[in-house]
């Protein structure tokens, strides 16, 4: 049987994998962008809320500021200071500076805002204090009834821990459902891809189940619209292949038939001629013609058999329950007279008393056993032993044809199944198709063939050689 050609790895991608990959990539990008946007919105709203609280601190500070005799006075008791600066999460610093910019009270590290703003208004901005990022509110407190002109600058700086915490909380609340949605979407996509590709799988299964000789068109009814053209093309191709195969088979069968009559004529003429009194030379020539005619006749017979059992003819040779034991016995018995002519002890051995039954075609199996015995007799010298044995191991039925003939060299044991291959230096009558036929039939029956050394044979010089043991294993003989 042919092995499928290697598939180019680069082109071997999965449709569902590709679909899933691209859809998930898109989903991921959408989710990432939406997360970024969400974060910035969440942060914005967290800022807004805490900025107002910060402003209230600044205004409360402003309430405690007074200008007495052109001097800025702050009435800030320790407890108020503590309360002002107390916060669970963040550090709060403040700075109050006079209109001339000199610091009145607070943390001198707080820098004034870089943007100018009107007196009586406030401004929020981000800054850095020490090593920490801070949010600052600056409030310009106008000075009334005083010699001091301008406004006092009140700044309150707060680290951003709780703002960030809040933003994260918001984003967390938003992100979890989003991830869930993404996962659910992925699952739905995955399932729907699977479901959409189901007809493809069914198609594959139905093709896989086909025997290699089934060239009937594939039903396009249940196939998705997208692959219907592909199927149509495939069916077209199968039809073309079938026509070619059929033509080939018919030709071989016809040719074999047509060859038979002239061969029969040739054979009869030679036999008739050999009955006449002729010179030794002519007799020798005629005898050679007779031998060649026999070979030719056998070759034609084998060609026809091969053409018949070739894949695609199973319609003609349906499988049924076959009593292998009876069949093998009958075929072996048919060969006994031929074996006796060579004084070969041809016998049958069955391991168990029970008949072995397999699923197969009787015609093909007979051909197979016949060819094996023929071969064994051919390559076994006069006086040899050929044993046809049947045994059973678990579910397997094993057929063995063991001889003590010339044997097959180990490096040739694989080759002998090739068509027209002949064992070197063999002068047997075989024509190289017998084992090819055997192999085809074994294949059709899903049986395996192997060749081992057969029985020992000691020639005139005391040299020991081993014959051939052809073993055929039929799998699961009592099942389909």
């Amino acid at each position: 049987m042919l092995k499928s050609p290697p598939i180019n790895k680069a082109s071997h991608y999965s449709l569902s994998g590709q679909l899933l990959l691209w859809l998930m990539l898109c989903l991921f990008i959408i989710l990432s962008v939406s997360s970024l946007v969400s974060y910035s919105r969440a942060y914005h709203f967290a800022n807004l809320a805490y900025d107002r609280a910060l402003l209230r601190v600044a205004l409360a500070l402003a309430d405690q500021v007074d200008v007495v005799n052109s001097k800025v006075v702050i009435d800030l008791p320790e407890i108020a200071k503590d309360m002002l600066q107390y916060d669970k999460d963040d550090y709060i610093n403040y700075r109050i500076s006079a209109p001339d910019g000199s610091i009145v009270v607070g943390n001198p590290e707080i820098t004034p805002p870089k943007i100018a703003f009107k007196s009586g208004t406030h401004l929020y901005y981000d800054d850095v204090l020490g090593n920490e990022e801070v949010r600052v509110v600056a409030y310009a407190l106008p000075v009334i009834n005083s010699e001091l002109k301008g406004s006092l600058l009140i700044q309150v700086a707060e680290t951003r821990t709780k703002r960030e915490t809040m933003a994260f909380e918001i984003i967390e609340e938003m992100l979890i459902p989003q991830i869930m949605i993404m996962l659910v979407t992925a699952l739905v996509i995955f399932l729907s891809i699977k479901r959409s590709l189901l007809p493809l799988n069914q198609l594959r299964d139905s093709l896989a189940k086909r025997s290699h000789e089934d060239l009937s068109p594939v039903a396009t009814g249940s196939a998705p619209q997208e692959i219907t053209p592909l199927l149509n093309e495939m069916n077209d191709l199968m039809l073309r292949v079938k026509v070619g195969v059929d033509f080939q088979k018919t030709f071989v069968a016809d040719a074999s038939h047509q060859l038979r009559t002239p061969i029969a004529a040739l054979q009869n003429q030679v036999e008739l001629a050999l009955r006449e009194p002729v010179s030794e030379q002519v007799r020798h020539g005629l005898e050679n013609i007779a031998v060649s005619t026999k070979h030719l006749s056998r070759l034609v017979q084998q060609l026809l058999t091969l053409a018949r059992i070739e894949p695609g003819t199973e319609g003609h040779y349906p499988f049924e329950e076959v009593n292998l034991t009876r069949l093998v016995q009958a075929v072996t018995a048919e060969w006994v007279p031929r074996a006796l002519k060579k004084s070969i002890d041809l016998g049958f051995e069955a391991e168990s008393g029970q008949d072995l039954v397999i699923s197969g075609n009787a015609f093909m199996l007979k051909e197979m056993v016949s060819n094996l015995i023929d071969n064994a007799i051919c390559y076994t010298p006069n006086g040899g032993v050929v044993t046809v044995a049947l045994s059973q191991k678990e579910d397997n039925a094993t057929l063995q044809i063991i001889d003590n003939g010339i044997g097959i060299a180990h490096d040739q044991q694989e080759l002998v199944f090739n068509r027209f291959y002949r064992v070197e230096d063999s002068d047997g009558e075989g024509c190289g198709l017998g084992l090819a036929i055997v192999k085809e039939i074994a294949l059709a029956h899903h049986a395996s063939i192997s060749i081992q050394d057969g029985l020992p044979y000691s020639d005139a010089g005391g040299h020991i050689t081993y014959g051939t043991n052809v073993t055929i294993d039929f799998k699961a003989y009592d099942q389909q």
Partner: protein, 226 residues
Amino acid sequence: MRLLVVEDDKILAEGLQAALTQAGYAVDHAANGEIANVFLQQTSYDLVVLDLGLPKLDGFEVLKRLRSRGDKVAVMVLTAQDAIESRVKGLDLGADDYLIKPVNLSELEARVRALIRRGKMGANISLVCGDLVFNAADKRASCGGYDLLLSTRELALLEILMHKQNKVVSKEQVLESLCNWDDELGDNAVEVYVHRLRKKIAPASVQIRTIRGLGYLLENVKKSSH
């Protein structure tokens, strides 16, 4: 004995004609189905060797017309068509034998002899193997003219072996032939009867071979040693 060879291949027909003439038969030849059909209506033959793939009227048709006329002449189909369907069709239409080309001349002659014998004498024939003769009608066996004293079972065994001489007779077949008479037979009954028969036919030029795992085979010793 008059035979008709129906064969469109000139050389094969000539060969068959020559061989059968040598064997002592008067042989006519028809090169196509129509001629054969005419010959068969005009002449009473003892046997017809009939090809199937014939011009004008194929062999099946010739055979069908022959039998529909009630002609019981022995018909031996000799054809290149070895498909089981054709074989079955041929035999169903009333062929007495079905041979696939090419066929060995000696085998053809033997089959012709057998068919003619069957046609002439029915079942009442003597089976011969070497100098051993078995008469099926009065169930008697003789060797070189002297009757052999055999029991009914030994005769039954000899009959089946003679019928299938040079072919393997399985133990089951032997057992069946022995079981036609009365009681159950033991496991080694076949061996016992074969052993006895061997002893009794020892003077004849035949032998019963034991074929490993298959059964027994009766053969003419002179013939096989030659």
